[in-house]
Amino acid sequence: MVNFLESFLRVAQHADGGYQPILPGLILLFPLVGFVINGLGAFLWRDSKRVPSLVGPLAIIGSFAVVLANFLAMHAAMPHDPAIVSLWTWMAVGDLSIGVDLQFDQLSVLMLLVVTGVSSVIHVYSIGYMREDPGYSRYFSYLNLFVFFMSVLVMGANFAIVFVGWEGVGLCSYLLIGFWYENREFASAGKKAFIVNRIGDFGFLVAMLLVFTHFGTLNFVEVFAAAPETLVFGGGVVTLITLLLFLGATGKSAQIPLYVWLPDAMAGPTPVSALIHAATMVTAGVYLVARAGVLFAMAPVSQATVAAIGAGTALFAATIAMQQYDIKKVLAYSTVSQLGYMFLAVGVGAFTAGMFHLITHAFFKALLFLGSGAVIHAMHHALHQVHRHDDPNDMRNYGGLKNVLPITWGTMWIGTVAIAGIFPFAGFFSKDEIIWSAGSYGYTVLWVVSILTALLTAGYMTRLMVLTFHGENRSGADVRPHLREVPAVMWVPLAILAVLSVVGGWIQIPESLPALPAVDALHHWLEPVMEPARQVMTEHGLHQAHESPLGGGEAVWAIMSTGLALIVVMLTFRALVHRRYRPASESETPTGFAGILYNKWYVDELYDRLIILPLLALWRGCWRIVDVGLIDGTLNAMASGTRMVGWVGSLFQTGRVAGYMFWFVTGVVLILALLLL
């Protein structure tokens, strides 16, 4: 017990370069305690807001503090090898041994920093956003639990522990999507998220089986160290493993073909969308691919698949985002699209670029979601006060909100510019690196697609801003007077994130950009973790070119893309700001190509028709035809047949002695005949 506590708090086995994880267990313990307290609160002191408001955010901030301390310690030591904290043996059966081990290396600590950091901000924001919700305590318990599982996912030192976090965050996502479970559709969206995620998890699970079969362990350190020797570069096994892992990633990170759950996931409270469905959980797939970078580096086919699917998703989702009216849906598809970018990055082998975009995206997408949350919050209040039941999420009901929500307006514009990839905001640097990587690694088509997507991004984000904040207000005369800026507890987080959205990109500034100091902090930071993967790639002749497929260096294209984005933003703004929209209740549904986009390419319908309905029919058939009909039918028929035989047999028992005697004599005759045979 003492040992356990010790390891929980302090001791690392693979300490290196003087770095020792600081209070590692607390990172997990804080959110867990928060979950327990808030969870109990949900039952015991249902109406009290004080405890959850205090415990919920504080648990996460505490966690963040520990992570920060670790980050600083690690920054100082810059260890080469990961530090492993073994808490206890989870399963040890035969040659399988899985420990509850936490891994502290640059990747995990960085990711933790983002996760706990953004979480802290969003927790604080939630105090304001959820204040009036009857499930306040429950909300915070779920949110804390999410952070716990997310931390497990990030810190897990082996596939199995990561899988715990992986499914755990899925669970929390499920719970939070269906947070307002009384709405059947919301609950249904949660269910959908869970089931779709499970398809991905299946891939993860089988990948683990394969890994164990070939490595005899699931520990990252050992697997990745042994991979280059154990597996053949580009061989079937490693390709299969990575493809399966990527299947997991498509589920969690909402990529084609499993992205369908994420837009529906917007049913949850908006801070949840910001935290889980934008900033943290959905990026877990990217994190996983980066984590297993060595394996992916060994499987070119998988990498190409990852990149292609990433790029495809990016473009596909962006087109849909163009024609959505629900503000959160736009952001959701935007998220899907941006995640596609990240996969494109890790797919082409630019793992750091992927992580980079992951970080910046966490900032500006959280910002955008929280901003939209502020809008929705304001609309909801206003609508609530006049007892109207219009959709507070529909942008067609907004318009001209910049006057009532100035802070929100301002911060959201920062987010928009950032996501559009305009210099010098965070998105510019990260996105640029991805586009450049795609181009320089020779993925010409994907490179073009990525540029195209960047333009679309700028377009739909500007559309969102215009529809929401500019032009005339369409909410109605009765509603308008009730619209108010959100309280400080909500706008302060917006501001923090806005700042991060600006400066977040400065950690990595390519040297090729003119007139800027080259910063290589992120690359440098992740170097120890990403080194093996890069080595594998270089060994097998994968090199980054110095020119794009169409010629021109990084700087040219960076400038060109930011310029293009700027132009798109301005053009869109000009084109839309004077258009007259009508409130949602008075609008027709779009038709033509816009209709197709509005209906999301009919993918959900397609899945329904092609997969779900046939499956349900099959299952029903299994039950009614096979189970009830065939098996039970046969058995019942046998039973009644038996009884029938008995009944027929009893007919011989006529009650007439002569008949009995006849059978008697027949019996004698047969016996005598038997003897004579």
Binding site: A658, F662, V665, T666, V668, V669, L672, A673, L675, L676
Partner: protein, 175 residues
């Protein structure tokens, strides 16, 4: 020769009597046919040197038992011809086929078998000698009251049971 003649005579009588009993429509006639068959059988017994048995057969069977039958037929007032008493053609065929098959198989088995006499058996001479020495009754009586004392006693109980049973069953008033 004379034995053969009598045997054939008795055999025909016995078969005729048996067949007559089975086929006669009137119960009383049936009884009479059976009496005839038993008479003929007793004759065969005599031909086979079982004089005492022949006598007992006549006295007990033909004399007592069949009279009892007749008595019951009269008592129950059944002495009239019943058309339905003999079964219909289908059943008749079934009965005759199964009975015939049985007889056929028996015949095959009787012909395929042989009588085994233990330790050389008794033989005609011994039999005759025993008959001469002890008389027809004596040869039977001696083993019956010595070796077969136990079955004899059992038979006594059996008869008692029959008596009590007959009383119990045929008594007028229900117990």
């Amino acid at each position: 020769m004379i034995v053969d003649f009598f045997f054939v005579l008795f055999a025909v009588m016995a078969i005729g009597g048996a067949a007559g009993m089975v086929l006669a429509r009137n119960p009383v006639a049936s009884v009479m046919y059976l009496v005839m068959a038993f008479f003929a059988l007793s004759g065969v017994f005599v031909l086979l040197d079982a004089h005492f048995i022949a006598a007992v057969n006549l006295i007990v069977y033909a004399g007592a038992i069949l009279v009892l039958f007749l008595f019951v037929i009269m008592l129950l007032n059944l002495g009239r011809t019943e058309k339905t008493d003999l079964r219909g053609p289908l059943y008749r065929m079934l009965a005759i086929v199964s009975g015939g098959a049985f007889f056929g198989l028996l015949l095959v088995m009787l012909r395929g078998g042989h009588v085994t006499s233990m330790a050389g058996g008794m033989g005609q001479e011994t039999m005759d000698a025993m008959l001469r020495a002890r008389g027809a009754v004596g040869v039977v009586a001696d083993p019956m009251f010595r070796s077969y004392l136990v079955p004899f006693e059992i038979t006594a109980l059996l008869l008692l049971v029959a008596v009590v049973g007959a009383i119990v069953l045929a008594r007028q008033k229900a117990p």
